[in-house]
Structure formats: C-alpha cells, structure tokens
C-alpha cells in the first residue's frame, strides 16, 4: 500500500505540484488548505507517513499548527517538514524547537522533495 503524505498549503497550485511529484514516486497524497484543516486531518487519522506544511496560511499558520501537534505528543510518530517561502533563521529555530524534522525553502525541486520524503517518511 502506498504511503500517505499530507500536504498543507493554501495554494492549490503548490498542492498540485506536490501531488505530481508524489504520484510519480508512488506516494499517495492527502491535502489540507490551512493549518486548522491540517490539524483536523492529523488528529483524525493514523495512517499518515509524513506531513509537508507551509508557514504563512489563513486561519492557522503552519508553525502554530506544528506547536499544537507537538503539544499533543504526536510528533514522535509523524515527521513534519516545513515547505515555505520563509527563510528567516528565527522561524527555522522555532520550528526546530517545536519538533519539525526539516525546512525547505520554495521553490522546491521535485527530486529533492522526494529524497527528503524517502528519508523521513514512517510506516
């Protein structure tokens, strides 16, 4: 069975770009359009192998979501990598402190994204 990767991004184009990369590498994609929706998906299912998450999104940002997931003790079994236009060291440190496994600055190269997923995805 294909591993399931959750992508959380408010841009439908980015979600589609990730979908194209994942499908080509035999992963299945689950999607959410903001942090609040992503949090619902994460807490509602136990079959996710990894999460890719944007930072600046409406309703709830990616770092806020990451910190909520961390506070619920869910990061031990679920690696989260931030995928964002932000490159500010203070934000990277905040993500690292909350338990994120990585940080990718857009635009991303599909082959590097897949290499990261192969390295980190669980199950």
């Amino acid at each position: 069975m294909a591993k399931k990767i959750l992508i959380i991004d408010d841009s439908a184009t980015i979600r589609q770009q990730v979908r194209a990369a994942l499908t080509g590498a035999s992963y299945e994609m689950v999607e959410a359009a903001d942090g609040a929706e992503g949090l619902e998906v994460i807490t509602g299912r136990d079959d996710l192998a990894m999460v890719l998450c944007d930072v600046n999104m409406p309703r709830m940002g990616g770092l806020e979501m990451l910190e909520l997931v961390s506070a619920r003790g869910m990061l031990a079994k679920l690696p989260i990598v931030m995928l964002t236009t932000e490159g500010q060291p203070a934000l990277v440190q905040r993500a690292k402190a909350a338990g994120a496994k990585g940080w990718i600055v857009k635009p991303f190269k599909p082959e590097l994204l897949i290499a990261t997923i192969r390295k980190l995805a669980v199950m």
Binding site: S11, N56, T84, P89, K96, K101, I104, V105, K106, P107
Partner: protein
C-alpha cells in the same frame, strides 16, 4: 512612516524578480516603464501585504497570460492562484534579502486582484519594474513607507536567511 527615495530597495526588488522567474526557467528582460502593457492585456495581480518596525507596505505582481502559463506547474490550474503564489515567493525572497540589511518584516497571505485600469502610479519614488517574458510582460512594484531615519545599510543584518531551494534536515 515616510516615503523614501530608496533606490537600493528598487534594485533588490529587480534582482529578486529576475531570480524568481529564472528559478522557473523563464528569462526576463528589463523594459522601459513606457512599455507597460495596456491594462486590458493584464491577467491578474498577486498582492502581498507586509509590515515591520522599519517598513510596511505591499508588493504587487502583475503579469500577462504568457509568463503565467509558461511558469505554472499546474498547466490546468488557476492563474489567479499561481500569480498569488508567485507574489508570495517573490515577497519571501525580498524578505530574506532585507534580513541581510537588518530589516525584519512579517508577511500577510497573498490575495488575488483582477479588474480593468489597474496600474501603478507613475511615482518617481517607487518605480514599477517592467520585464518582458515569454512574449508577455511582468510588472512588479513595492509600495511602502519607512520609519523616520531609515536607510538600507548593507552588513547591518542579523543572521543570513536560508537560501531559496535549500533543504535543511534537523
């Protein structure tokens, strides 16, 4: 806040815009402001607001259909969504460069804007940057105010930002 004559920021926006489209394998050539296309040729704008102690304002990215179609990774997707994402990525680059000058800003989420007669004011202070690209045009301008006494000084920055395209694993 005031409106400065701050050419270094115009140069920074110019460089970031060319780098962004280059990352999507689209060459852009600087053009005269007079060549800015008539507004009925324009597709949509992506607008990104930002704010901080030293600067606040908005970035506007406008493009005709061709450069958007050439760069959009989702060939069937929404051009409005894509121009918003491009504005987001462009503003991310500008933010990362500003960090090198000690200027920290917070970014809003992008918004799309469509309509007729959308064009920048012909201000000498915040000149729109016009490029030709893929048989079409891209135009970007940063409309901003700065804190009194603000000057962009190289080397006064905090820690350097993570470059675009980089992956860090913890």
């Amino acid at each position: 806040m005031r409106n400065p004559d701050n050419r270094p920021i115009d140069d920074l926006v110019f460089d970031c815009c060319r780098e962004l489209f280059s990352a999507y394998e689209l060459e852009t050539q600087p053009r005269s402001r007079d060549e800015f296309p008539t507004t009925d040729e324009l597709a949509v704008c992506g607008v990104m607001g930002f704010g901080g102690k030293l600067m606040r304002g908005a970035l506007v990215l406008v493009a005709t259909r061709e450069p958007l179609e050439r760069t959009n990774p989702d060939s069937l997707g929404s051009q409005r969504d894509w121009v918003c994402e491009l504005a987001n990525q462009l503003m991310g680059r500008i933010k990362n460069r500003l960090l090198g000058f000690g200027v920290e800003i917070l970014l809003a989420t992008p918004a799309g804007l469509s309509g007729v007669n959308l064009s920048p004011t012909q201000s000498q202070l915040r000149a729109p940057q016009v490029f030709s690209a893929a048989d079409g045009f891209v135009c970007v301008w940063l409309d901003y105010e700065c804190a009194p006494g603000f000057e962009l000084r190289e080397g006064s920055g905090v820690e350097a930002a993570i470059p675009e395209g980089e992956t860090l694993l913890f």
